[in-house]
Subunit: 456 residues, 2 copies
Amino acid sequence: MSLERVPFELSKDYLDLVLQAVEQHDDAFIRDTMDGVNPADISALLDEVDTDEARYVLDVLNNEVSAEVIEELEEDTRKEFLEELEPEEIAKYIVEMESDDAVDIINDLPVKTREEVIAAIDDPESAAHIQELMRYDEDCAGGLMAKEMIVANINWTIDQTIEEIRRQAENVKKIYSIYVVDDKGKLKGRVSIKKIILANDETHIKDIYEDDIIHVETYMDEEEVADIMQKYDLDAVPVVNLQGRLVGRITIDDVIDVITDQAEEDRQLMSGISSDVEEDDTIWAISKARLPWLIIGMIGSTLGALTMGVFEQELDKYVTLVFFIPMLMATGGNVGIQSSTLIIQSLTNRSNFEESLSKRLLKMLFTAILTGLVLALFSFVIVLLWKGSDQIQFAMVVGAAIVGVTMLASIMGTITPLVLDKLDVNPAIASGPFITTTNDILGIIVYLAIANLLLP
Amino acid sequence: MSLERVPFELSKDYLDLVLQAVEQHDDAFIRDTMDGVNPADISALLDEVDTDEARYVLDVLNNEVSAEVIEELEEDTRKEFLEELEPEEIAKYIVEMESDDAVDIINDLPVKTREEVIAAIDDPESAAHIQELMRYDEDCAGGLMAKEMIVANINWTIDQTIEEIRRQAENVKKIYSIYVVDDKGKLKGRVSIKKIILANDETHIKDIYEDDIIHVETYMDEEEVADIMQKYDLDAVPVVNLQGRLVGRITIDDVIDVITDQAEEDRQLMSGISSDVEEDDTIWAISKARLPWLIIGMIGSTLGALTMGVFEQELDKYVTLVFFIPMLMATGGNVGIQSSTLIIQSLTNRSNFEESLSKRLLKMLFTAILTGLVLALFSFVIVLLWKGSDQIQFAMVVGAAIVGVTMLASIMGTITPLVLDKLDVNPAIASGPFITTTNDILGIIVYLAIANLLLP
C-alpha cells in the first residue's frame, strides 16, 4: 500500500491504551497517537468512553480538531458530553465550527445555556452568523445553510477575488463556487473555481460569470432542497432571501444527511417504530418506541375479533371457514403494503408531469384485478387439493373473497398515502401497521360476508 | 426575484409547443427555447415524448447538451431510446460524457451493440478509458469511478499543475482536489484547489501536498465506498489498484445515487416487491413483481391453516379461541418487523465497535419480555371486558400466548437479518412478507398449543 494509516483501524487495544493514558495523564501519548488521525475516527473512539474521559482527550487535542470530533460524535453521546461542559468551554469549540454545524449543536442545548454560549463566543462575526441562522426552522433551507462561502462583487477583478479567497481561506473549508453579487448583495450568478484558476488576473468577474444558476430560497423545505441538488447534480447551492439577497449556501454533505435521515425515518415508520431509536438505546427506550403501534395493532385486531363474533353462528357451522382467515388476512396485508410502497415511491420521485388521480386509481384497480384473479385461482386449487373436489362451492367462496380483499386492500393502500401526503404527514407511515391492521379487518369482513352470502 | 428562468418550469403547454415544433421541423424554436435550460429539465420533458420525437430534439441540440440530457433520462426511457439509434449515433453522444456515465450507459446496451459503439468512438483516449472501466463490476469502486481527474506529479510546480488543469479543463467538469502521484503513478496524496489558488507559481507540489488522505481500492463494495465518503465528508475519493496506482476517482454525486438506490431497494424488499418497478410501469410488469411474495405468503398461510386443522377439535369446542387468532397473528407480524428493522438499521450504520452477538440477543430478549408483558396485560383486559370476568382462564391463555409470540417473533426478527447478512443477501428482505408469514404461523401454533395445554 502506498499510503499508511488510512482509513484508521480502530482497535479495542488502542481504546484501552487511550483510557490508560487518560488515567495516567499521559498527554504526550494522546497527542502523538492521534496526530493526523481523521476526527471522525476519534469521534468513533470517544463514542465508547465516559464523558470525563472524552473531555480529557478533547482538552489535550487542539481546539480545531476537537471541534470536528464533537461534530462527528453520535447525537446521544454529544448531548451527554456537552451537558458537562461550561458555556465558555462550549463556545471555545463552537467558534471553530462552520456556522451551520455550530447552530445545529447550539439548538440541541437547553435554552438558557444557548444564550450563555453565544455570549461567550469571542469572535463577533461568528456570533452574529450563529444568531442569524438560529432564526430559521431546522427543516428548511435557512436551517441547512452556512454563512461560510466566497462572495465576489460583480465589479471585481480576478485578482480582487483571489484576495478575498485568501482572506476567507481559514473559514471556508471547501470553496466549490464563487458566488457573484451586485452592490446590494443580490445574487447575480457564480464563477467556477476552475475559471478563477485559468483566468487572467485582470479579467473582470462580470465578463466570465454564469448568470443562469440554480438557487433556493430560505423558506424552502429541506427535502425539496435535497431533490433539487440531486436532480441537478449540485455540490453546493446558494440560498437567497425574499429580496433576492445572497444569505448563505447549502453544501452537499448536509443534503446527504437529509437523504439518509429520511430513508431511516421511512424504514422506521414502515415497521411501526414510533420514535427514532437505535439498537444500542436502552431496553426501556426501545420498548417505548415499539409499544404504541403494537397496541394500536392489537386494538385493530380486536375489531377483527368482534367482526368474527358477529358471524359466530356461521363459524360454528363451518369450522373450516376459520382455517382460511389467516390466508385472507395475510393477502390483504401484503397487497396493501405493496400498493402503498409503490405510491410512496412515486411521491418521492416526483416528476414534473404527474398522471391524473383518476388514471392512477384506474391503473391500480386493473393491477388489483389481475393480481386478485391469479391469487384466487391459486387459493381455489389449494382448497380443492386439501378439502377434496366436493368442496367446489367452498373453494369459490375463498377465491371470491381473495379477489375482493385484493381490490379493497389495493384501494386502501393507494388512497391512504395520497391522503397523508396531502395532510403533510409522512406517507411512509401508511406502509406500516396502519395499513396491515386495516386490511386484516377488511379481509375478515369481506370473507365472512361472502361466505354468509354463498354458503347454504 | 433576481434570477430568471431557474428552476425551469416545465408546463404541459410548453410540451405541446415542443411537439408541434418537432412536427413542423421548427428547429429554431427548439434551439432557442431550450438554450440555457438545464439538461435535467430537458430530460424530464423528453421522458414524456415518443422516441422519434426525442431523437429529433436531441439532433437539434448540440451534442454536449444532448449527451447530458441522455444521462439524465429515466432508465426505461433511455433504454428504449438508445435501441432506436445507430451505434455511430450513440458513440457521438458517449464521447461527450464522463467515462463513468459512458460505461453505465454502454453496459445497458446489448452485447453486440456495445462493441460497435466502442469501435465507433473517434477519440482513442476516451475509448481506452471506457474499455478499462468496463472490466470492473458495476457494484464496486472500480465500477463507480471515472477516469477524469486532475493528476499532478509530485515533482511539478504549481505552474505546471495549472497547465495540466488548463489541458484537462474540458474533460474534468468538477475538480475538487488535485491528486499527487510519483513517477510510477502511485498515489502519494492530494492538494486542495484552494492551496493551488493561493500558492506561488514556483512552489513545488511536494512542499504543499497532504500525504495522509483517504482512498479506496477498486474492488471495494459500493456501499462501503458510500459509507466512507459519508463518514469523512468527502466530495471525491481517489481509487487505487492493488499496486497502489491511482486509477480513477469517485465523486459524491455517484455515491448519492448509491445511497438513494439502496433506500429504494430496501423499501421494495420490505414491502415484498421482488423487482425494481415503478408506478408508471405496465400493469403486467407491476403484477409480475408483486405476485411472487403474495403467493409465498399464501403458501405460508396455508401452512397456518393446516396447523389450525390439527387443532380442529379444540376449535370446534371453543369457537371463541378463533376470535383471537387475528390478534396473535398481527402481534407476531408487527413485533417481527420491528425487530428486524432495528437490526437492519444497526447493520447499515456499522460502527467500529460492535456488541457481541450474545449480548445483542440477550438485550433483544429482555426487550421482548418487557414488550410481551405489557401487551399480555392489555390483551388480558380486552378479553375480560369482552367475554366477562368468568373467562379469567381464557384471558390467561391469550395473555400467555401473546408473551410467547412476542418472544418468538423477536428472536426470528433478530436472527433472520443477521443470517441473511452473513449470506450476503440484503437483510431488508427479512422485514418483508417472509418474517410476517413465518410469524403468522408461529403465532397460531403457540396460541393453540397453549390453549390445548391450559384449557380443560
